[in-house]
Amino acid sequence: MPKTKVDRLTQAQEAQLAPWRDMWLNHGLSTQPADRPRAEAGVAKAYREAGLEPPRIIVWLDSPLAGCIGAAMLANLPGGQVGGQVWDQVRGQVWGQVRGQVRDQVWGQVRDQVRDQVRDQVWGQVRDQVRDQVRDQVWDQVWGQVRDQVRGQVGGQVWGQVGGQVWGQVWGQVGGQVWGQVGGQVGGQVRDQVRGQVGGQVRDQVRDQVRDQVSKALYGQHEAGYLSFYDYMHRIVGIAAAARLEGIGEVAQSAGWWWPFKGAVILTERPTVLHRDAEHRLHCEDGPALAYPDGWPIYAWHGTRVPDWAVTGPTADLIHAEPNIEIRRCAIERLGWDGYIAQADLQLSAPVDDPGNPGQQLRLSQPIGIFGTRRDELVRVLLCTNGTVERGGIRRRFGLTVPATITDPVSAAAWSYGWPVHTYMQLQRRT
């Protein structure tokens, strides 16, 4: 007997929207160590909800990357062998072929962690079952059913009112970045650093196996978005069907990414470091914007993922060698145009007075191919230099780029405001 649809929230329910959102935002952005007992209890609940026996083997790793590697190891083990032999064989066949300093360290670390944790547990009894990844059962099927049932009981307006409160900040700005980074980086790093006599086929296989694991994960705290929605529906609106996501919700409140297997589960830690800008985008000027306990980092500049040098040590040479224009622009912002111009040894025009701006002067650089080297892609840097000298005898400089076809500083300034030159020359005041 279906309940009548909930078409509007009561005042008491509406009053809970903000607290619920804030509570889940807190979980989604948490940098506290995982609450391991609570996460493991949540896993057990999620398995039972899916009609599965809770896993007897529980492996904790320190980052989403480590989790992907560990999950790929578990998923691709040759069958029918026990204990140390298994690991030696795996190592010999595939993982041992992976060379390169960083790779060796990471693979070795993860391999040791997985082996040590698994060996201590009931591996022998479950070894044949492990390899079956059960995300489909634990997640896809349960969620799909829950979503349909809840949708059937809640009117569109309420759905819209509750949805979206948390999603944008947690998944959009953070979780999605992690997802993108792990997927992209795993591919890049494995591909780049496998060398020696490893044939292309084996190398690609390893890379693909690890990268595949990105989509086989459940995302723990990064799923706070829609879990907050269903949690609200369950506890505040009283939709019983939504209770089926409780187990997954508890993992999300306690841990990072996780991979459910039949008989085993890999859980991972939450980050130790998370820095964002005023618009909630990943951003940090002097180090990783996101980092995990094993040191795995994401460097970001106002929401754009960048290599570490762009933040910690941008130089004109590194900028020129970088093929991605977005990253180049972030690195230049970090370095500053005056720093870039000095390092790149660019020629500047003679200074001219900036109209309406006593004490400030304009200079225009030679054409540069920083954003493209075709003639129509060349730009010049317009530098505005402060008239006043700051401490240390430095005059602060600000820069922006204009089309290279513009050849004098005043025209360049006028272009940047979209004004005719003669209008800009009449500028009365600048603040």
């Binding site: 954003f371 004004w419 603040t431």
Partner: protein, 145 residues
């Protein structure tokens, strides 16, 4: 025509937290000519060059009308006036892509563009195009304040 920073702060009684160092008696001229406030520009319509199209007008009052909100620091450039008839029409379309809207200040009235880092710019009677600053990267993009 001019006024001072302190007089304006008191006149509008804003809750704005000014970041720059502004002397209380700092002169704020009220001008009819072209001006710039950081990466925002105020240009008499007759000197602008292009002819953007603008939408419906809203009245500019002491409560303020935001012209644009900055990028990284999330600070806004805000129009304020205590005189009747000051109107703001947001841009619908502009060829050069930098126009933000049209400001009309009737005879005898004054309008002020306020920003936490830049203080105030005073605008006298006239019609103006208020715009943004652009730069050329791999495509034209707006300068982030």
């Amino acid at each position: 025509m001019s006024t001072t920073f302190a007089a304006l702060k008191e006149r509008f009684n804003t809750t704005t937290e000014f970041v720059g160092e502004f002397a209380a008696d700092l002169d704020i001229p009220v001008l009819t000519g072209p001006q710039c406030q950081g990466d925002v520009s105020v240009c008499p319509a007759s000197l602008y060059g292009a002819k953007p199209t603008f939408g419906d007008a809203v009245a500019v009052t002491g409560a303020g009308v935001e012209v644009i909100r900055g990028g990284a620091m999330n600070n806004a450039h805000t129009l304020r006036s205590l005189d009747a008839g000051v109107m703001w029409r947001p841009v619908l379309f502009s060829d050069e892509g930098v126009a933000l809207g049209e400001l009309t200040v009737p005879a005898g009235a004054q309008c002020f563009l306020e920003h936490p880092e830049h203080g105030f710019n005073g605008v006298a009677a006239g019609t103006y195009v208020i715009g943004h600053q652009r730069e050329q990267a791999e495509a034209v993009r707006m300068v982030a304040d």
